[in-house]
């Protein structure tokens, strides 16, 4: 992860001061990198001040905060006179460093500048509310040119007001006063047209990539904070990526992103300091900030794809910035949220009683239920199932239960460890990793050749040495492979966000649980599995899980349950999505299939075949096409994507009990298990994952069907036979009864491939055939076989398509017509 730049380990204040004074001596008004460094040290000092107030006097912290803000303005090019502004900053820093703990000189310097710059009030106040106001008011000059101050910043319906309103009872200051303060402090915001320098494309690209990662960590941290709003360490996790994005955006002059993250950061800072309670409304607000950020970053990403000199279109951001400023200013002076009644460490039920959330009788029933039927479940869950309490009340009671416990203390060591680990990683171009895996693959094959060499087997000594080398080579291979591996955890985390959004939209209660998130997958697989997973999870929530009333009527808990699991199984990666919803109704699927013309009336379908119908293009069983899913474009794409990863999807379902979708994927895209077969003098590789079985048919199993050619009857199933050798022009027609038939599956259909001989199973390193062989049907790539020859890897879907086309007609309609290669005009060169 790209967090290397951040100095996370809190440094000692004298250390930081030392670094500040050396850096400032070398810096200069347009030396952005040093300014950035200074900024970072100042922030570090503030950070130290916040985490260890005993080490850093408050005045110094505030002075550092002020300097940091001015540095920011300078970096963003907002200072009227850069040289002068820098000179003043330098003076403040020198004073700060020289004065040690006394912040007086720095303080006066800051005040001087503030008077000078006009919109940069003194930041030496020390009281938090003052700082907060300062933040809101010290925004770039553009703001004063923008909307007139006093613009109604809060529309009645927006979540920010709800936050303010929700917390109002706990606020000692009169609401009118707060409102007034808010209106005064909230300045407008106007986006300035963004222009980026094409010469800096690489930097901007790096920003887009890193920001994407940070957004991911923000989302997962947000979900965690939502679960444990009191956990300071989690809020820190949330704070940090915002800060990094803000910093990077600042250097690249991405003002909208910079300001937006700045405001979000300010808000979170209040939460972190306990000035502001972390409410659901606040989390929602931050989620919408993340959404805007995503769009903003995507816009920059588009510019990276096609850099130009013109104005980069930016999605609107001013509304959100103004809203955030309103929230920040309006609630800045709020005291920490009162702890809910209930004793720390007390029982949840007792706490609920103390809060008056539940009647003693109800609690008694719930406890009885816990003892009798569901010993593993928590009282809170049972009460929620009984609808006796709201999740919010339980959350409050839980909060009280944890009480004065300092959760961040426990989390801190792992935090530090993680930070340290993050700094020790290196970013490597994946092309290099791919090349390494390729070469190591060759090494393994070459090694196998040496192992089988007669000279080696003849000498015991040599054999011993060679087997030692073999072991090392295998280790190297494993290591090379592992370098491309990433944990699936972050991908699952994204699903958590999805479930949250979809279930809210659909008005359902859904709990998502995750297991096996540390399972490692090839980076490419992780990238490509994201979309199919989104589709399937969305389907599970939208189609699988019933509405709360329906669930209650069916005697199930109101909240549905979706479980995501990843793990290894027999050399494959298995990802499963299980829901306890209504399950798939095979009969309904078949009816729908007949309606859509996918199934002939009277055709017998196994349950599995009926389930597989949902993968057919244009198939949707949902009675209502909802906003979220159900347009019938999802599942066929899902299967195609997974098959393109050489994986497969299986469905298990029980009506009324739920469904499980299981995705099986190869461990890596670089290597596959293949069955090597012979046709004439050529050998081909059929990926083992698509093979159903291999057999030598008896004559009575073969029938010739009009229009469809030879058909093999396997226990009542009719499987079309494909003369692979003839199709590829490698040999003539083979008599299936004298040859072998490999039954392979493709998109749920089975085909029988007639081959001359099965040579054996082998792991092969996949090579691309290259650009020049693009468009060959039925071949997905090549591999170097044990003897150094190239073997082609079969792609069954393409073989089937080619077969149907050669037959001219048949059941061509099953697959979409073949994509044509872009026909290039051929030059009339040859005479």
């Amino acid at each position: 992860m790209g967090k290397r730049k951040e100095s996370r380990q809190p440094l000692d204040a004298p250390d930081i001061l030392q670094r500040l004074s050396t850096t400032v001596a070398a810096a200069d008004a347009d030396d952005l990198s040093r300014l950035a460094q200074l900024h970072e040290w100042c922030e570090a000092l503030v950070q130290t001040g916040v985490t260890r107030p005993e080490d850093v006097p408050e005045a110094m912290t505030e002075a550092a905060r002020g300097i940091s803000r001015r540095l920011e303005a300078l970096i963003l090019g907002e200072a009227a006179d850069a040289a002068e502004a820098f000179a003043e900053i330098a003076a403040s820093i020198t004073a700060l460093a020289a004065g040690g703990c006394s912040a007086d000189p720095a303080g006066s310097a800051v005040s001087a500048v503030a008077a000078d710059a006009g919109d940069m009030p003194a930041a030496t106040g020390g009281e938090p509310e003052k700082t907060a106001e300062t933040m809101a008011a010290s925004e770039p000059p553009a703001s004063s040119a923008g909307l007139p101050s006093g613009t109604p910043a809060l529309s009645p319906a927006d979540p920010s007001e709800q936050i303010a309103a929700g917390a109002a009872p706990s606020e000692p200051a009169s609401p009118e006063e707060a409102d007034k303060a808010a209106a005064e402090a909230v300045a407008g915001y106007e986006s300035v047209p963004l222009r980026l320098n094409p010469a800096e494309t690489d930097f901007v690209k790096g920003f887009v990539e890193e920001a994407g990662e940070h957004i991911e960590s923000i989302e997962s941290a947000l979900l965690e904070v939502e679960q444990n709003p009191e956990d300071r360490a989690k809020i820190d996790d949330l704070f940090r990526p915002f800060h990094t994005i803000k910093g990077m955006a600042g250097f690249l002059n991405l003002r909208d992103i910079n300001c937006l993250t700045h405001e979000a950061e300010t808000l979170l800072d209040q939460g972190r300091k306990g000035i502001r309670p972390i409410t659901a409304g606040l989390i929602d607000l931050i989620f919408s900030v993340v959404d805007i950020l995503k769009v903003q970053i995507a816009a920059v990403g588009e510019w990276v794809a096609r850099p130009h000199d013109g104005v980069v279109p930016q999605p609107p951001v001013a509304g959100m910035i103004i809203k955030l400023r309103g929230v920040v200013a309006g609630r800045a002076a709020a005291p920490p949220a009162p702890t809910p009644p209930g004793s720390p460490g007390g029982k949840l039920g007792e706490n609920l009683l103390a809060q008056g959330a539940v009647a003693p009788e109800v609690l008694e029933v719930a406890l009885e239920a816990q003892r009798a039927e569901q010993p593993g479940r928590r009282v809170g869950e049972i009460l929620m199932d009984m609808e006796a309490v709201t999740p919010r009340q339980v959350a409050h009671a839980l909060r009280a239960q944890r009480g004065a416990e300092e959760p961040s203390a426990a989390a801190a060591p792992t935090q530090a460890a993680r930070a340290a680990a993050g700094d020790q990683s290196v970013r490597i171009d994946t092309a290099k990793l791919d090349a390494l895996v390729d070469i190591v693959g060759e090494l393994v094959i070459a090694q196998t050749l040496v192992n089988m060499n007669d000279t080696v087997t003849a000498s015991e000594r040599l054999l011993k040495d060679v087997s030692q080398v073999t072991k090392i080579v295998r280790d190297v291979q494993e290591l090379a492979m592992s370098m491309r591996m990433l944990q699936i955890g972050p991908t699952f985390q994204k699903m958590a966000r999805l479930v949250r959004d979809v279930s809210r939209k659909a008005g359902k209660l859904v709990n998502l649980t995750i297991s096996g998130e540390d399972t490692e997958l090839d980076k490419n697989v992780i990238q490509m599995i994201g979309d199919p997973l989104i589709h399937m999870v969305r389907n599970a929530v939208d189609h699988g899980i019933e509405a709360p009333e329906a669930r209650r009527a069916a005697g199930k808990p109101e909240a549905g349950h979706v479980h995501l699991h990843a793990g290894h199984q027999g050399g494959n990666i298995v990802i499963s999505i299980t829901d306890d919803g209504k399950g798939l109704d095979a009969a309904a699927l078949i009816r729908k299939g007949i309606e859509k013309g996918l199934v002939k009336p009277g055709q017998e379908l196994s349950e599995q075949e009926a389930f597989n119908l949902i993968f057919a293009p244009g198939f949707s069983t949902a009675a209502v096409v909802t906003e979220i899913s159900g347009r019938g474009v999802g599942m066929d794409v899902v299967r195609r994507n997974i098959e393109s990863l050489r994986g497969r999807v299986d469905i298990a379902s029980e009506p009324g009990r739920g469904s499980t979708f299981t995705i099986r994927l190869p461990l890596t895209l670089a290597i596959i298990d293949g069955m090597v077969i012979r046709l004439g003098s050529e050998r081909l590789i059929i990926p083992t994952i698509v093979i159903d079985q291999s057999l030598r048919p008896r004559p009575e199993q073969i029938t010739v069907v009009q229009q469809r050619g030879e058909v093999l009857n396997v226990r009542g199933r009719l499987i079309p036979l494909i003369q692979l050798g003839r199709l590829f022009g490698l040999c003539g027609r083979l008599d299936p009864c004298k040859a072998m038939v490999v039954i392979a599956q493709c998109e749920g259909r089975l085909v029988g491939l007639v081959v001359e001989e099965l040579i054996g199973q082998q792991q092969v390193v996949i090579k691309t055939l290259g650009e020049r062989f693009k468009g060959i049907k039925g071949i997905s790539g090549a591999a170097i076989l044990g003897d150094g020859r190239v073997g082609l890897i079969l792609e069954v879907g393409g073989v089937e398509e080619l077969h149907n086309r050669r037959r001219g007609g048949g059941d061509e309609g099953v697959r979409p017509p073949a994509r044509r290669r872009g026909s290039r005009p051929e030059p009339a060169l040859a005479c």
């Binding site: 050529e682 022009g729 020049r772 090549a782 190239v790 073997g791 005479c831």
Partner: protein, 161 residues
């Protein structure tokens, strides 16, 4: 990678006959030359794996130290009759944007052909597209046809229906 026709013919004429080192080889009775800078290596004919749905002049692919490289039979490319491979038959690996192998009857030598010894391509030629010939080199009585190997290999797609 596949250069468009305009591009290939453009290079051929714009570059014109350039003096320098050429790798010469025989195809039947004729001698050809390829700019030595295009040549990566020369090797014995190894096992070649046939690839379906390719043009007749595409012999298939072979393993060049772990890379899968297409091989074109130059005789078939020029419409010359087939000839069984012998110990003189070679694959010349050339870089024409991608690496490709060409099968030739026999490799002769690396020859320095000065620009002064190169005639412009003949306007009419029985067999080859004019665009593929950079010029005709003359050393003594020997005539070497200097090939624009990019044009030869990139002008037509390898894959056919």
């Amino acid at each position: 990678m596949g250069g468009s026709p305009e591009e290939t013919s453009g290079t051929a004429t714009a570059a014109g006959p350039v003096g320098g080192k050429y790798l010469t080889f025989a195809l039947g009775a004729e001698e050809y030359g390829i700019d030595i800078l295009k040549v990566r290596e020369i090797m014995q004919v190894l096992d070649i794996t046939r690839v379906p749905q390719t043009a007749p002049f595409v012999k298939g692919v072979f393993n060049l130290r772990g890379k899968v490289i297409p091989v074109v039979d130059l005789r078939a490319r020029f419409g010359m009759p087939d000839r069984p491979h012998d110990d003189q038959t070679c694959i010349i690996v050339v870089d024409v944007g991608t690496l490709m192998g060409v099968i030739v009857d026999t490799v002769r030598q690396v020859q320095d052909i000065p620009a002064s010894a190169i005639d412009p391509p003949p306007s009419v030629d029985g067999r080859h597209a004019v665009g593929w010939i950079l010029g005709v080199g003359k050393a003594g009585r020997r005539v070497t046809i200097l090939l624009d190997i990019d044009g030869v290999l990139n002008a037509e797609p390898l894959v056919v229906e």
